[in-house]
């Protein structure tokens, strides 16, 4: 404290050269009040036209197509889908893994990047968490109805029942029940807890009685006192740590569902890691798809800066490269094992007449298109990134299709050979879940604080009591 404060000119001399300096988290160098206005503007302002243009079709898919396909399947049976011997796991499981995958990047961004003190994650963390919560909800639905008799779902939970039966806890499918439910609960808690201070912001800003009542209820009496922040920060770190564990657990367990089976193409120890990285890769793709239009339409270019998008793109590239390595290893091990069934399955992934198109989509997107992200030009072009994000989602979807269907349709005996073609109900249900996801996401964007207001403010130089902008100059005692 006794050190004389530096003036701005001296500070500039001490600062590292421009190319080594970190990009500011928020551009524009405005005050905290401006930032608060900016971040809560979308939730408080008039609903723009684009919101309705996306909301209405999404809501139609979510409230008409989704329940129609769901109820028809539940009332009729799994037979309405294309699943049949030998392909008993079809689009339902493909979509399940896909949705779980989308969820993972959200947790990775918000939890793991918090633990590694990446300040830029504050601006996109909340959006990523929302993506997690909604996509886990979609994912959880699939296994629940794939069991065929959805009204017996409670058999999967260890509930005392009159049959005296218990679940069999050695099965990875059983672990899945725990994993997906835990993921849903924990990511919702994490999401909600992160929003408490921001609910307080919206409460204090609200102009109508009804808004005030709703946000007062949600903020639960948050005052932002030092004591509250003290406990809150601790709880946040703990939750981040637990969520990070979940990133690596949930998809690992989904991977175990496969690798404990003896099917050629599934029976590989690499699967847990494979699924985790695939999930993260797919989720980053989804993050690009959501983030790029929203920053423009919600006027958040200063907050979600190009530098942040560049970082997400780099993370996408890293996870994509790991995925490519795993593909290489899969094919190598299939060849190296000398197992004719393994070789058969992997040969047919790329050269089998039935599903080779899916195999080449996988290679074309996940291996080739991803390499575009090496170039700074691509990473700074938002349109390109948006398209790459969409393509990654398609590529990862086809990867799951290749794994699930591609391994099942031709196994050890020619008697077990068959084909799988999704029916309109398979596709309708997928469209329905997509609609439900986007509907929930649009509602979240419109009504809840879509950017962590207090977190972003907390990483601003104005928030640092030892920074000249945070009021440290006054302590100099020069006057």
């Amino acid at each position: 404290m006794s050190e004389p404060a530096l003036n701005l000119e001296e500070l500039k001399k001490l600062a590292p050269p421009a190319e080594l300096r970190r990009a500011p988290v928020v551009e524009g160098n405005q005050g905290l009040g401006w930032l608060t206005d900016k971040l809560s503007a979308f939730a408080e302002g008039k609903t723009p036209l684009w919101w309705w243009i996306f909301f209405i079709p999404a809501a139609f898919a979510a409230t008409v197509i989704f329940p129609t396909c769901l109820f028809y399947q539940v009332f009729t049976g799994v037979g309405v889908w294309g699943n049949n011997h030998p392909v008993m796991w079809g689009l339902d499981i493909v979509n399940f893994i896909w949705w779980v995958g989308v969820a993972h990047a959200g947790t990775l961004i918000s939890a793991l990047l918090f633990l590694t003190r990446q300040h830029w994650r504050t601006t996109i963390g909340r959006m990523a968490e929302a993506m997690t919560v909604f996509s886990v909800a979609m994912a959880g639905l699939y296994p629940a109805i794939h069991v065929g008799r959805a009204w017996f779902d409670w058999f999967m939970f260890p509930v005392p029942n009159s049959n005296g039966l218990w679940p069999q806890f050695r099965s990875p499918l059983m672990w899945d029940v725990f994993a997906v439910n835990t993921y849903l609960v924990v990511s919702s808690l994490f999401w909600f807890m992160g929003m408490i201070p921001d609910f307080a912001v919206l409460r204090d800003r609200s102009t109508t009685r009804i808004r005030k009542a709703i946000f007062s209820f949600l903020a639960m009496g948050w005052t932002g006192s030092a004591r509250q922040w003290h406990h809150y920060e601790k709880a946040y770190v703990v939750l981040c740590g637990l969520c990070t564990l979940l990133v690596f657990t949930v998809s690992s367990i989904v991977g175990l569902d496969f690798c404990t089976a003896q099917i050629a193409g599934w029976h590989a120890t690499i699967f847990p890691l494979y699924f985790v990285i695939g999930a993260v890769f797919c989720g980053f793709g989804m993050m690009l798809v959501l983030m790029i239009p929203l920053r423009k339409w919600c006027g958040l270019e200063n907050i979600i800066t190009k530098s942040h998008i560049d970082k997400v793109a780099k993370l996408t590239l890293v996870s994509g490269l790991i995925i490519d390595y795993i593909y290489l290893m899969e094919f190598f091990i299939a060849w190296y094992s000398g197992d004719p069934y393994e070789r058969w399955v992997f040969g047919h992934r790329l050269f089998g007449h039935t599903y080779m198109i899916m195999g080449w989509i996988l290679i074309g997107i996940n291996v080739c298109v991803t390499q575009l992200l090496w170039f700074k030009k691509v990473r700074s072009n938002l349109l390109w990134l948006f398209i790459i994000g969409l393509l990654i989602n398609v590529g990862m979807w086809s990867e799951r299709f290749v794994i699930v269907v591609g391994s099942l349709y031709q196994d050890f005996l020619p008697a077990n050979w068959g084909k799988y073609m999704p029916t309109i109900w398979d596709i309708g249900l997928y469209i329905g879940t997509l609609g439900a996801f986007f509907m929930l996401y649009l509602l979240f964007v419109k009504f809840l604080p879509m950017i962590a207001i207090s977190e972003v403010k907390g990483v601003m130089p104005q928030a640092d009591p030892h920074h000249p902008l945070g009021g440290a100059q006054k302590e100099a005692g020069h006057e």
Partner: protein, 179 residues
């Protein structure tokens, strides 16, 4: 139905100003005071002498409770109540319980962290004397508010107000406690 004084609130414009003021308030011997800020201010918890938050322990307790319960449940379900032979393995072994128990540990830990945070902060609460103050709304925006409680031994409506003025507080106001 008496109108008591809850405390005196003062407003500051920057976290730096608040931190310096807080140092002086502490040096003046006040103990029952708190600051209300839009985000946590680094150095404030040290200055206010907070010990490590108990939230971590609550979370650990929640996690351990769930972990042990699930281990017990699996033993009860698959080895005791309805013994089940799977793959010729023992009815019960510790490794077989690990994955579900570990996942429920995460669940218990997360619920523990949230409940611990809310419990230690005495939330949810419906009202707080400060909510009656219009200027308090700035505390979630860009203002930094300090409140010295009337229960403090050194509290004196005039002296404390003077002190808050000298440390740079503005908009000093009495907060009423309507009971």
């Amino acid at each position: 139905m008496s109108e008591k004084i809850y405390g005196l609130m003062a407003e500051f414009d920057s976290p730096g100003a608040l931190l310096q003021a807080a140092e002086k308030i502490r040096a003046a011997g006040y103990r029952r005071w708190d600051v209300f800020t839009p985000f946590p201010i680094h150095g404030m918890d040290k200055l206010m002498g907070f010990k490590n938050s108990l939230v971590g322990w609550v979370s650990l307790a929640g996690g351990a409770f769930m972990f042990l319960n699930v281990v017990g449940l699996i033993w009860f379900a698959n080895a005791f109540d309805y013994p089940l032979i799977v793959g010729g393995k023992p009815m019960f072994s510790v490794p077989m319980t690990f994955v579900p128990a570990y996942i429920m540990l995460i669940m218990g830990g997360a619920i523990g962290a949230l409940i611990g945070m809310l419990g230690l902060n005495q939330l949810p609460r419906l009202h707080h004397p400060l909510f009656a103050k219009k200027r308090f709304e700035g505390a979630s925006r860009d203002k930094f508010i300090m409140v010295i409680g009337a229960l403090d031994e050194k509290f004196c409506a005039t002296e404390t107000r003077k002190l808050l003025e000298t440390v740079g507080g503005t908009h000093i106001d009495i907060v009423e406690d309507k009971d």
